[in-house]
Every structure is written in structure tokens, then in C-alpha cells.
Amino acid sequence: MPGEMTAVRNFFILLILLSFLIPFAIQAILVRFLGLYREKALRQKGPAAATLVGLLPLGGLFLAWLLVFSVRSAAEIFWSGFYLSGVYLLIAYVYFHVFNMSETARRIRILAQSHREGKVVKDEMIQDYSPEQMIDLRVERLEALGEISLREGRYLPGRMRLLPAAKLVFFLRRVIFPNGR
């Protein structure tokens, strides 16, 4: 029936749109109400944990959609599940970057600090925020995440889960900016 098909489709699209909110909602519960991932070194694990935990409500909603609309075809169940989880993971990746920007982006820090103080004082900011301090912060974070480790005064590769991302980013940088920026 065409009307029934439209309802199945509309609720599926509603499900997709709902999935956009899940990573933020779960992180808010984990961080704000349960007090998890609040420490500076652990904060960046928050969005990843929220994404994984978010698969539970997403799976529940998907199951409810299958049951309510009696979706029986194995192919339709597979492709709907594949599509929904694909969009969810992409949106969760976007959300991870939004959080990361709020946590580590120099541009966001400059803007937020300037907005709070009601003025932009470039020279004062340069003094307050030395290059050494910026590097120390990043090295500290990478060490806390287990990406690198310190041994006898030298930083060595740790788990290196960020290595594929680093290779991809610098490969794309060479493709898009062949002569540098």
C-alpha cells in the first residue's frame, strides 16, 4: 500500500534525524550527570564513549521501527541497518570534531576568550599563550591518551591509534595544498 510505504519511510527518516542527537545526549548524561570523562586528560574519550553507548538506544529504536512496521525482508533489514549505522557513525564523527574544537582548537579559544573579555587583545594573548605551552598541552594530552610515552627523556610511539588519521590528514594536505598554504 502506498500510504503504508510512506509511513515506513517517514518514520525511518525520523529515526535518522533522531540519531543525530544521540552522541550529544549520551555525552551530556555521562559527563554532566554521571561525572565521567570530566578530567582534562580524559575529556576527549567522552565523545567516543558516547558514540559506543549510543549504539544501544539506536539499536532499540531500529528494532522498534522493524517491529512496528513489520519489516520482514532480510535485504531491507540489512540495508536499512547499514544505512542507519553509517549515517550515525558519520554524524558521531562530526560530533567528535565539534567537541574536539571546543577542547583543543586555538581559534575557538581566541574567540571565546575575546567574547568573554569583550575585547581582542592579540599581543596579550600571544604572551599568555606561548608556543611552548601549546606544545606542552598537546604532548600531555597525547601521553594521557596513550598515543605516545616518555622514556628517558624521549617521547616514543605508544598505541598510535591516531597514526592512520595523521597519515590521512597530511596526505590530503599535500593533495589540496601542493605548494603549502
Binding site: F12, Y83, L90, R109, L111, I135, I148, Y155, F170
Partner: protein
């Protein structure tokens, strides 16, 4: 629902937008890059989908095909747009990871890591990006945040308040 086709069309649309983006950037990087990325990756394909939906083959819209295809494309595009700032700015954390990996087995000392980054560029380049993106401007002999810059700052401050976290240290 024709989901496999929607995924294939959405992916093809994303790749076409990516190709256009690379060609434009290699020729002459436009100012206000983020705005242009949104135009190339979201608005332009959105306009094409709308046009096909209005005047094209009804098969394209049947079973929510065009909407599902556009959502897929928009999700892929959003993921790329969010990856772009580290690509453009050469994310220091990722550079540290890469250089330590390249310098195995000895690794790097803190001084060697510091030497990877020019002192002035660490802050000034990011400040210049804000000016180029129209988030900060020079007016009446002083630097000020523009309306868009204020909006971005408010968004991130409100977001951190919602999570009950202090502002990140940059």
C-alpha cells in the same frame, strides 16, 4: 526502499564535490574557506537534488530515494568539512604523532618536538585564519569580534556550559 542506490548516488555526489573542491583550491584557495566548503559540499549538491526532484524522473524521488541519498551525501560532506580544519592548519597533535612515528626507534625529545613548530606561526596563523574567515576584524584602530564570530563564540560557550565543562585550553 532503494537504499543501496541512495548510498551509491550520495557517495558519487560527495566524490564529485570533493574533486571540485580540490580543483578550485589548487587553482586559487578562496577566502572564507569554510563558507565555500559548505557551498560546494552541501548547498550546490542540495540545489542539484532539488532541481532533479522538481523536474527530473519521478523514479528519483520514489520511496524517499532522493532524500535518503542527500542525507548520505550530507553526512559524508559534513564529516569531510569537519576534517578540513586539521588539514588546513596542519593539526599540531597529529604532526607530533606522525613525527614520533617517523623517528622510531629513538623518538623525539620535548625540544625536538618544539622545534617542529615555528614560534610565531603557532598563534598568529590561527589569528590570521580568524581574520580571513571574517570572525575577527580590525575596526576603529582595534581588533574586534564580528557578529558571526560572536555567534560562534556563544555557541561553544553554551555548549561547554551544557556539558558542565570549563572552556578548553586550546
Amino acid at each position: 526502499m532503494p537504499i543501496p542506490c541512495a548510498i551509491a548516488w550520495g557517495t558519487a555526489g560527495f566524490l564529485a564535490a570533493f574533486l571540485l573542491h580540490v580543483l578550485v583550491w589548487r587553482r586559487a584557495k578562496p577566502p572564507r574557506e569554510m563558507m565555500w566548503l559548505v557551498i560546494i559540499f552541501i548547498l550546490l549538491p542540495g540545489a542539484v537534488y532539488l532541481l532533479i526532484w522538481l523536474v527530473g524522473d519521478p523514479a528519483f524521488t520514489r520511496g524517499g530515494f532522493s532524500l535518503l541519498s542527500f542525507i548520505w551525501l550530507a553526512a559524508l560532506s559534513s564529516a569531510y568539512i569537519m576534517t578540513y580544519p586539521p588539514i588546513q592548519a596542519g593539526c599540531p597533535s597529529l604532526k607530533i604523532v606522525l613525527k614520533i612515528h617517523q623517528n622510531r626507534p629513538g623518538g623525539l625529545s620535548l625540544k625536538e618536538i618544539n622545534d617542529l613548530f615555528p614560534r610565531q606561526a603557532m598563534f598568529s596563523d590561527r589569528f590570521d585564519d580568524l581574520v580571513e574567515d571574517g570572525l575577527v576584524s580590525w575596526e576603529y584602530d582595534t581588533w574586534g569580534i564580528t557578529g558571526t564570530g560572536r555567534l560562534v563564540a556563544r555557541f561553544f560557550l553554551a555548549y561547554r556550559r551544557l556539558l558542565k565543562l570549563p572552556l578548553g585550553e586550546g
